[in-house]
Amino acid sequence: MRKIVENRFGLLALVLVAIGALYGVAFATRPAPVARAAATPLKAPVESVTTVCPSPSGTRVSVITPSGAQGPGAATLGAVAPPTGKNGKPAKPQAPLGVIQRPGRLWQREVPAGGGPLAVAATGSMAAGLEASQTAREKSGTQRGLAGVRCVEPGNDAWFVGPGPAAAEMTLYLTNADAAPADVTFMVYSGEGPVLSERGNGMILQPGESRVVNLRDLAPSPLVMALEVSTGSGRVAAAVKAVYGKGLGVDWIPAAAPPATRVVVPGIPGIAGPRELYVTAPGEQDTVVQVKAVLKDGSYALKNKETVEVPAGSTATFDLTTGVSGQAAALVLTADVPIVAGLKITGTGSSQDVAFTAGAPSIDLGSVVADGRSAKKQVSRLVLSAPFTAATVRVQLLPADGTPPAPVEVKLPAARTRELTLTPPPGGASFSVVVQPQPGSGPVYGGRVVDEPTPDGEMLTAQPLAVARIWALVPPTADSPGAVLP
C-alpha cells in the first residue's frame, strides 16, 4: 500500500481502476430501452344522448337502442320548446310523444302532419347506442319518393354537400334544443366559390327555438353547393332537405364528414341510375382530388375519371354514372388539402327519385341504423366497404316484433365492397340494423339504402353509416400540475 502511494503513478492507477469500476457499474445497470406503452382509451357505455329529428311531421319515426346496456334508462320523445314562455314564466312541460324504456326493441310511430322538430333524449341504458330516424314515403306530388334522415345530435359544426338552390328547393332546418342560445353562422361554397350573403350569414337561436331557412335566401344562384353550419357558441341541430320538383325526386342530405385530406364516401347501392359526386375544397388552395372506387372486385381508379380539379373555396361536380352505376361501391377521395364530399344517387324510371350519401367516418365502434324496412317491394340494402384492410363485420337485425334472428358475420376482403340485402325474419317488416366490426378489423365504411320499385320509377333513400353512440372512448387521465405547460 505504501508503495502504491509513494509511486508517481500509484494514485493515477488507483483512480483509473475506480473509474473503470464506476463505468462497469453504470454500464451494467443501464436499463434496457422500454417502448413507451401507448395509452389506450377504455370503452365505456354512453350515458346520455340527445338527438333531434328535424321535421317528423307526416313521417315514420323509428327509435332503437341496441340491447346490451344494463340498468335503468329511458328515452323521451318530445317537441322542442322554449324553456320559458312568452311572458318569461317557465313554460308548461308538454306531454311527451312517447317514453321508451326497453332497449333492443324498435319503436316506430307514424307522426301526424304538423308540428315542429322532435327531440329524443335518452339516459342510462337507453342512451347507449340510441339511434333515431325519420322516413317519409310519398307516392305523388313534389314530395314523391322516399326521404329519410338520421335524427341528428346537436353540434357545433355540420357540413352538407349537394345541389344548390338553383337546382332544387333547398331547405335548412335548424333546432336549438339546449338551454343556451346558439349563435349560428352559415357558409356557402358554390361552384364559383364562396358565397357571401348580403343579408348576413348568421342568426341566433334562442333555447328551444327552431327555424326553417330557405337556402334561396342565403344564396339563390348556386347549382351545387356545400353548406357549413357552425356555431360560435351553443349547439344546433341542422338538417338540409332537397326537393327537386315534381317527378324529379326528393331527399334529405346527410351530414358529411368534416374536411379531411382523405374522405370515404360509402353506401353507393348496386342500383342502376346516374351518380353524381360533389367535392368541395373549403380552404384557400386549389386541389386535384384523386378518385378511387372500391367495388366488389377490387379498388381502382376509374378510367378517364381518375381526378377531379376543385378550385379553392368552391364545389365541383363529377359524373360517375359510367363508373359506379349499378355496382355497390364506395369512393375513396384523396387530396392534399382538406375536402368535403357528397354523392347524389338517382333512381331510374319516368318519375325519378334521388338519394344522397356523403363522406363518412369509419364505424370502428359499430353503427346502428334505426329504420330498415322490407315490405312488399321495399328492399333494404347494406353496403359495406373495407377500402384499406380486410375486416369482419357482425350484422344483427332487431325487428320491431318477434325475436331477433341470429347475427350474421360478414367477411370483407381488403379493398372490397359487399352489398347485403337485409331480409328480416318472417312477420317483421320493420327492423333496425346493428353493424359491429369485429376485433382485428380494418376500418369499415358503409351505408344503408332503401329502394322501392314502383311502376313510374324507383323510389329510394340512403344514409351513410354513422358511428354508433354505444361506446364512448374514455381516455386515460392524469392529474398533473404540468398540464399548465405546452
Binding site: R8, F9, L11, L12, V15, L16, A18, I19, L22, Y23, G24, V25, A26, F27, T29, R30, P31, A32, P33, V34, R36, A38, A39, P41, A44, P45, V46, E47, S48, V49, T123, A127, E153, P154, G155, N156, D178, A179, A180, T231, G232, S233, G234, R235, W471, A472, L473, V474, P475, P476, T477, A478, D479, S480, P481, G482, A483, V484, L485, P486
Partner: protein
Amino acid sequence: MHSVTAIVVAHDGARWLKETLAAVLRQTRPLDRVVGVDNGSRDGSGRILSEAFGQHNVLSLSRSTGFGEAVHEALGRLPAAQGTEWIWLLHDDCAPDAEALQALLWAADQDPKAAVLGPKLRDWLDRRVLLEIGVTVSRSGRRDTGLEPREYDQGQHDGVHDVLSVSTAGMLIRRDVWDQLSGLDTALPLFRDDLDLCWRARVAGHRVLSVSDAVAWHAEASARRRRRIATSDEHPRRLDRRNALFVIMANLPFWALLRSIVRNVTGSFVRTVLFLLAKQPANALDEMAALGSVLAHPGRLRRARKARRNGRKQGYPAVQRLLTPPGAAFRRLADMVQGFLAGAGPVDSAGRHHAAASDDSAEDDGDELLTDSGVVQRLFSSPGVVLCLALAAVTLVAERSLLTGGLLGGGALVPVTGGASDLWRLYVEDHHTAGLGSDAWAPPYVAVLAALSTVFLGKTWLAVSVLLLGCVPLAGFSAYAATKRMIPYVPARVWLAATYALLPVATGAVASGRLGTAIVFVLLPVYAALATRITAGSRRAAWGFGLLLTVGTAFVPLVYVLVAILGALAAVSFAGVRRGVTRSLAIGLGTPIVLLLPWLAGIVRDPGRILLESGLHDTSPADPRLAAQSLLMLSPGGPGLPPFWVTAGLVAVALAALLLRRHQMVVAVGWGVMLFGVLVATVVSRMTAGGGPAWPGVPMAFAATGLLVAAAHPAHRIAEFRAGGRLRRLGVLLIVVVAFATPLAAAGFWVARGAGGPLERGVPDPMPMLAALGSAHGEATLLLRPKDGRVSYTLLRGRAPLIGESDLASPADAGHGLGAAVAGLASGGGGTHTQTLASMGVAFVSVPGPVDPALRRSLDSDPALVRMSLSDSGGLWRMGGQVTVAPPPAVKGSTHRIWLWAQGALLVLMLVLASPGARTGEPEEDYADVPVEAAPRGRRRSKEDRVPA
C-alpha cells in the same frame, strides 16, 4: 494688554506630564502666571508639577475632583490680574506647540468678540493625525468633529473658524467671560463640559474660535482609557453619552427640547437594537443606561435648565447654525451600510469620543463573497469581474430566446406568475385553495423564493429570471470568489470558475427549468469555501454554512444527504486535528434540520421525494437510460446538454494532476469527491421519482467541484514548468490548451444551440383571460391537455398556479372523484360528470390549443357545457348549470402558526449568529477602545492588561 494664566490639571498623567510642562514653559509668548493642579495623582504627577512650576504654584486636590472643579478651585485662589486676563486651560496629556499661545492671542486680538479660543488638536502618538479643529454636536448628542477617521493634517482645514465649541485641552478663555458664565459646570466632571461651556458662551453673545495656527498634541488619555477615571465609576462611553444627552437637553430651548427628547428616545432604542444585532451587548447597555440616567433625574435637568435660562432662546439661532445639519444622519447611515458591506461592524458607536479608532486592517472570512467596493476601476481590472462579464455575455447570447417576451416556463418550472405577496400568502396560509384544496404546509422553498422576490421588488419573475437564467455567471462568480483561499493562482481560478459555470449541469438546469438545481449550483462553491473555514475553526462560518445549506436543501433535498456524508467523513478526518470542528459541523448540518423540521419529516416518511427537486416533476425531462460514458463525463442527461465529450479536457487535466507529487493530498481528496459524486449520480439516475427518472444534476455538480479542485489546485506549478526546458514548455502548453478546451467548447455549443429546451419564453398563460374575468371567487377552471393519448388535467382557482403549489398534496378521495369526472367528460359519453365537476366549483373548462378534435367533439356534445370560444390558441367552455363553490373548511392552523413563528425566530437568531457583527479578531492596536467588561474572550483581556494604567 493681555495677561495669560495657564492652568495645568494633572491626574495620574506622569506619562505625558513632563512633555506637557516643558511645552508650556517653552512658549514664545511667555506666560504671566502658571498654576498646576494635581487631583490626587498616585504616579508622581504632583512632584513633576512642583518641579516645573515651583511648590507654591501647585494645588493638590482630592482624587475625586473633576476637571472643572479643579479649575474653579485654582481660579478661586488667584487674584484678578491687570489688563485683559486670559485663562489657558491645559490637560496633563496635552502638549501645546511653542507658538500656540502666541497664535491664540493673535487671533483674539483680531476679533474683540472672541472669548473662547482653542488650538488645533493633533494626535499625541501619530503627530500628523488631526483630532479636532473645533467640535460640534448633533441634536441627538453625537459628537461631530467634521473630520474623517484618522485624517492627516495637511493644512486642509487651516484658518480661524467660528465653531460651536473647542476642547478644554488648550482652551484659552477670557476670565471675565469665565466668571460671567460661572465656568465649567461641575456637574459634568468629564466629557462635554467643554461643549456646555462654549454653548453658554455663544448664547451669551461671545464667539468661539478654533485657531489652526496654534497646535497642541493631545493623548485623549481618559477617553481612550489610557488611565482610570477617578471621578466616576462609570464607563467613559456611558458617561460621555449621558453627558452629551444632558448638555443637549439642558441647553436647548423648550420646543427644541421636546423634539430632542422624542428623537433621542427613538434613536437610542434603534441603536440599542442595532448594537444587539451586532452582538455588542455592552454598547447596548450603555446606550440605555445613559438615556435612563438622564431621564430618571428630571430634577437635575430642571436645575441645569434653570441656570441656563437667560438668553437661551434668543441665543439659540447662533448655536443652531453650528449644530450638525440633520441630513448628516442619512449620510452616516449610508456610510454605515457601506461599512457593513465592507465587513465592518454594523454600528458606528455614537458614544465614542472620537472616530479615529476604526479598524482598517481587519479582513474577516466571507469578505470575498461580498462586493466590498464601488470603485469602477478596481472592479474592471479584477479578473473575476472580467470573467463574470464574459460569462454574462455568453449567457445573454445563448439565452437570446429566453430573455424577453411573455411568461417564462417549461420543464420543471411552472409559468412564473404572481408576486412576492402571493408567495408569502401561500407560505403562511393554513388552507390552500389551489387545485382541490389542501391543508398541507407549503414547502419551505416557497419562503426562500418569496424572500428573494421581495428583494427583487416583489417581482417573482425577476427573481426567477435572475436566478435561473443568470445561473451561469452567478456560478462563475461564486466559484471564483469561493476559491480565493483554496487556489491562490489566479489563472487557475479563472479557468476553474469558467469551467464550473459552463458545466453540462448548469446548461441542463437552465434548459429544463430546474430552479432548484440552479440555486444549489450557485451555492455549491460557497459551501466548499465555508467548509474550509469551518475546518479552520470559524464558528460564524458554520452558522452561515448551515443557513445556506438550508436554502439548498429546501430546493433540492438530495444536497443535504451529499453534504452530510462528506461532512461525516470530514468530521472523522478533522476531529482530531482541531478542537471545535465537530461542533461546528454539527451546527452546519443541524441548522437545516431545525429550520426545515416538519418538511424534512415528511420526506423521511416518503423517502422517494429526496430525489425530487422543487417545481414540476412530471414534465421535467430526464434521460431514463443515461449512458455510462455520460455519467463519467458529468453529463446529467436531458435537454440543453453539449455532447458528452465536452468535459473530456477537464477529466484529462485532473488525471494529469494525479502525476504531480506535491499537493497529492488535495488532488486525492478532489478525486475522492468526484468518484463519490459520480457513484451517487449513477445510483440516482437509475431510480425513478415523481413519475419519471430522477435527474442526477446535483451529485454531478458535487463531482465536478471535486474534479475542478483536484485539477486547479496544483496549477500554479505550470508557472514553474514554463520556466523549464522546451519539452516541459510544450507539455504545459498542451495541458493549458486541453484545460481551456472544456469551457470554450461548452460555451460554443451552448451559444450555437441556444439555451432553451422545454424552458421557453412566451408560454401562454394557462388561465384564459375570459375565464379569469368570468370566475367568481373560488370558482375553478378545469384545464385539459391531451398528450400522447392521455388527458392531463389540473384545476386552476381563478389564476395560474404559483411556484410551489404543485407540491401541495390534495386529499386523495377528491382527486379520484375529479379524475373520474374528467375521464367521463373527455369521453363525450354524457352523463352526470359535468354536474360532479360543477359541484367541485368548476365553472370553466379550458383546452389549450391546438385543440384536439376528439376532445373538442366530446366537450361540444355535452349539453351542460357552453362553448365560449374556440380558436387555434385554445377553446373555452362554460358550465351551463349551477356551480357550487365549497366554502373553505375551518382549519385549525394553530400548530402551523406556532411553527411559523418558531421558524421565523430561529431564522433571525441564526442570521444574527451568522452575520458579521462583533469580530472575533478585533484589531488589537494601541487605540482599541474596547471596554474591558465587554470583552468575553480571554485573549483580548490579556492584551488590555498590558496597557499601563
